[in-house]
C-alpha cells in the first residue's frame, strides 16, 4: 500500500501544527465558532448530539495492521474504546474531547494517517473497490489512480471552499463495487480495443435529499489527462454551482440545471486550457504510483492444499457457509479474500472495539501480509489469504465474533449512526438494524432469500445509502414522532437505480413486520433463482404495496 515519503510526512505534520494553532486561537477567543467550523470540519471534526465526532480518513479503504493498532489505541486513550467504520470507508470516533483532537491528529500522523478533508465543502476521501488489486474481474488496479487523486485533492488551494462537499469514487473492474454512479464524480477505468487505458467520467450523481444517478461527461478520457480533467470539472462546479441554497449546492443540481451537454461544454472549454499543462500524467508518474501497490510475495499454494480445502468445504457445513458467503475468489489461484463481518446484533453495524482492532491487526499480519481494506458495506477485508489457512482464520474469526456467514445477505445491513449519535437525525437507525437482524437471523431463510442489500438512514441526508438499497429504510419525523419510510428497488452497482417509496410511513415497532411482508411477496413471486431486485423489476411496486397496506 502507499507509504509516505518525507514530503507526505511533512505535509501531515504541518497540518497537525496548523490545526493546533487554529484550536488554540479558537479556545483563546480569537477564532469564533462560525469561522472555526469550516476549519475543524476539514479536519474531520463535527460537533454532534452528545459530543464531538472525529472522522478519520482511510484513503480508498486501505489500512495497514500498524495503522489499525494505532486506531485501537486512539479509541482507548481518547474515546470509549470503539470506532465506527462508515460507508465512505472511513473511521468515526463518537466521543473524543474537543481539546484532544490536535493530539489525536498528531498520533495519527505518526502512522501516516490524518483526518484531512473528511468533512466540509471540499473534495473528500476518494473511495474505491474493496477488492482492488485482487479481483478476478479487474481491468486496472484503481489504487494508484486513487492515490494520484488523493494527492491532487489534498489541500488543493483552489477548492477548499466549494459550494458543497465533493465525493469521488473509482472502479477498475467489470463489476462496479464502488457505487460510482451515485458520486459527485464517478470514474471507471477500462481498456479500449487497442488495450489502451481510458477513463469514463460520470458527474452529478449523489444521494442526500435529491438522489440522482450520475451522467456520463466523457466516455474515453485518455489516462494522461485524468488530473487536468478533474481540475476542469471541479473548477466549473466551483464557479457555477449554487451557493444561495445549501440544499441545492451539490454538483448534481448544477449538472441537471445546465443539462449534461452544457455542463460538458463548459468543462471542455475549461479543460482546453489545462490539457497538456502541469499535472498531465506520464507513464513514469503512473509507474511511480504503481510501485506502491506491488503484488505481495505470495508463496505457492500446493494442489494438495487446495484439494484439502475443497474437501473440508464439502464435509463441514459451517465452514462451507462461511466460504460461500464471506470468501471471495482471488485473481491468483490458491488465494482468497475474506470479508470480516462487522454485523452482529450486539453492536451497531460497522462498530469495532479496540480489542477487536488489535486482534484483527494480528490476523492481518498472520494471514494477509499485514494489510486490510474497509468496505463501503461497513465490513473489513483480508485480501490475500492462502486457501490452506482459511480454516484456521475462520476459527479465529469465530471467536472474535466476526465470522457471521451473512455477507451480502439481508443481515449485512448498511446503517448510519442515526438518532443515537447524530444531531441531524429524524429517527434512530441502529435499533432498527438490530431488530431486523434479530427477526431475520435464521441462516437458511437468509440464504434462501439470496443477495439483498438493506440500507438504513436516520434522515434524508442518506448517509446509510437507503436510496440504493434493494430495500431502503428512512427515518422521518412527523410532528416530533419517529416514523420510517420504506422503499424498494434501489441498487448501487452497474445498473444503478433509486428505490421507490412504498407509501405512508410506519411506526418503529412495525418495521420488521413490514419487511417480512415485502420478503414474502418476493418469495411467492420469484422465478427460480431470480434475485429480489430482478423480481421487483419484473413485477413492479404494486404487489408489494398491496400486501404491506392490506
Amino acid at each position: 500500500m502507499y507509504r509516505y515519503d518525507t514530503y507526505d510526512q511533512t505535509l501531515v505534520d504541518e497540518r497537525v501544527a496548523q490545526f493546533r494553532d487554529q484550536m488554540a486561537r479558537h479556545l483563546a477567543g480569537r477564532l469564533p465558532e462560525e469561522e472555526f467550523r469550516p476549519l475543524r470540519l476539514q479536519n474531520g471534526l463535527y460537533i454532534q448530539k452528545h459530543a464531538p465526532m472525529l472522522r478519520i480518513a482511510i484513503p480508498y479503504g486501505m489500512l495497514s495492521s500498524t495503522q489499525l493498532r494505532a486506531l485501537g489505541e486512539i479509541t482507548r486513550r481518547y474515546d470509549r474504546g470503539y470506532g465506527h467504520f462508515t460507508t465512505r470507508q472511513n473511521l468515526q470516533l463518537n466521543w473524543p474531547a474537543l481539546e484532544d483532537v490536535p493530539e489525536i491528529l498528531a498520533d495519527l500522523a505518526k502512522v501516516q494517517m490524518h483526518a484531512i478533508q473528511t468533512s466540509g465543502n471540499c473534495i473528500r476521501n476518494t473511495t474505491s473497490d474493496q477488492f482492488a488489486g485482487i479481483a478476478k474481474d479487474e481491468v486496472e488496479d484503481p489504487r494508484p489512480w486513487c492515490e494520484l487523486i488523493r494527492q491532487w485533492s489534498t489541500l488543493h488551494p483552489e477548492f477548499a471552499f466549494l459550494p458543497r462537499k465533493f465525493k469521488i469514487a473509482v472502479s477498475g473492474a467489470a463489476e462496479d463495487r464502488a457505487a460510482i454512479q451515485v458520486h459527485d464524480i464517478g470514474l471507471r477505468l477500462w481498456h479500449d480495443s487497442d488495450g489502451s487505458l481510458k477513463v469514463k467520467v460520470l458527474a452529478g450523481g449523489g444521494l442526500g435529499r435529491t438522489p440522482m444517478i450520475g451522467d456520463v461527461v466523457r466516455e474515453d478520457l485518455p489516462w494522461q489527462h485524468l488530473l487536468t480533467y478533474l481540475e476542469a470539472c471541479v473548477r466549473v462546479y466551483n464557479q457555477f454551482g449554487r451557493r444561495d441554497n445549501k440544499f441545492k449546492a451539490r454538483i448534481k443540481i448544477l449538472v441537471k440545471a445546465l443539462g449534461i451537454e452544457e455542463f460538458r461544454r463548459r468543462v471542455d472549454a475549461e479543460w482546453a486550457h489545462l490539457k497538456d499543462g502541469p499535472q498531465t500524467l506520464t507513464q513514469e508518474a503512473v509507474d511511480a504510483a504503481r510501485e506502491h501497490f506491488v503484488e505481495p510475495e505470495r508463496g505457492d499454494v500446493s494442489e494438495q492444499a487446495t484439494a484439502a480445502f475443497e474437501a473440508l468445504r464439502a464435509e463441514n457445513r459451517a465452514f462451507a457457509r462461511f466460504v460461500t458467503n464471506n470468501v471471495t475468489d482471488h485473481k491468483v489461484p490458491g488465494y482468497k479474500a475474506v470479508t470480516l463481518s462487522l454485523k452482529r446484533r450486539e453492536h451497531a453495524p460497522g462498530d469495532v472495539t479496540a480489542d477487536q482492532m488489535d486482534a484483527v491487526a494480528d490476523l492481518a499480519e498472520r494471514y494477509s501480509f499485514g494489510e486490510l481494506r474497509v468496505t463501503h458495506e461497513q465490513n473489513l477485508v483480508l485480501s490475500d489469504v492462502p486457501v490452506d489457512q482459511l480454516e484456521a482464520l475462520w476459527q479465529e474469526l469465530e471467536s472474535l465474533g466476526m465470522a457471521n456467514p451473512t455477507v451480502g445477505t439481508l443481515n449485512d445491513i448498511i446503517c448510519c449512526p442515526g438518532g443515537d449519535y447524530c444531531g441531524l437525525a429524524n429517527a434512530v437507525s441502529i435499533p432498527i438494524a438490530q431488530a431486523l437482524q434479530e427477526r431475520f437471523e435464521d441462516l437458511d431463510f437468509l440464504y434462501d432469500l439470496g443477495p439483498i442489500d438493506l440500507n438504513i438512514s436516520g434522515c434524508m441526508n442518506a448517509c446509510g445509502h437507503h436510496h440504493v438499497g434493494h430495500i431502503g429504510i428512512l427515518g422521518v419525523d412527523k410532528k416530533g414522532e419517529e416514523y420510517y419510510q420504506i422503499s424498494v428497488g434501489g441498487n448501487a452497482t452497474d445498473d444503478a437505480s433509486l428505490g421507490k417509496i412504498l407509501g405512508p410511513s410506519f411506526y418503529r415497532e412495525d418495521v420488521p413486520g413490514v419487511i417480512d411482508k415485502v420478503l414474502k411477496v418476493y418469495v411467492e413471486q420469484r422465478h427460480d433463482d431470480e434475485r429480489f431486485l430482478d423480481t421487483y423489476r419484473r413485477i413492479g411496486l404494486k404487489p408489494f404495496k398491496e400486501r404491506v397496506y392490506a
Binding site: 515519503d5 514530503y7 511533512t10 505535509l11 504541518e14 497540518r15 501544527a17 496548523q18 494553532d21 487554529q22 486561537r25 480569537r30 477564532l31 469561522e35 469550516p38 476549519l39 465543502n121 494520484l148 494527492q151 491532487w152 489534498t154 489541500l155 488543493h156 488551494p157 483552489e158 477548492f159 477548499a160 471552499f161 466549494l162 459550494p163 488530473l227 473548477r235 466551483n238 464557479q239 451557493r243 486550457h273 502541469p278 499535472q279 506520464t282 513514469e284 508518474a285 511511480a288 504510483a289
Partner: protein
Amino acid sequence: MPDTQLEHAQTLIKLGQPEQDEWALSRIDDKLPERRPVIVPLALWQASDADPQLAPWLPSDTVIDDELAATLAKAPLVAIDFPAFTDGRGYSLARLLRERYGYQGEVRAIGDVLVDQLFYMSRCGFDALALREDQHLDDALRALGAFSVSYQPGVDSQEALFERRLREANGG
C-alpha cells in the same frame, strides 16, 4: 462623496510582508469617489477614463473571458472580493487571471479575508491580502507559512509534487 464611505485596509500583506496601504476601496456602484488612488466596482472602472490611480474590484461571481481579461490587463491592480470567507470562487478567479491571462499587476484579496485562507490565496496568485480588520497580523504571517510542501502546482510553483519527485529521483 465623503471619505467616511471609503474603506481602508488596516492591514495589508504584500508579498508576504505587512505594508502601509495607499489604496482606498469604494463599494458604491454609481459614483466615483474623489480620493485617489482608489479601488472601485468593476463596472464603474470600465466606464471611467484610463487613470493609473483607479483600479477595479471583481465580485466573486464574475466570469472572466478574453475580452474582460484584455481590459483588466491595463489595470494597475485587480482586487477580488470575498463576500463571505466560505465563497471560494475568488480562488478560481485569481488563478484564471494569473495563469490563463498572464496578468502581471497586483491581485488583491478584499472582503472576508481571514487568517486561515491566506496560504491558499497566495498559492492561487494573490500577492496582496487586505485582511479583515479584526484579524491579527502575527497570526496571519504565521498562517502564510503553514506548509512548506504542496502536492499540486499553483501560481507559486508550476510543478506538481509527483513531477518534482520524478525529477529528484532522476538526479534533476
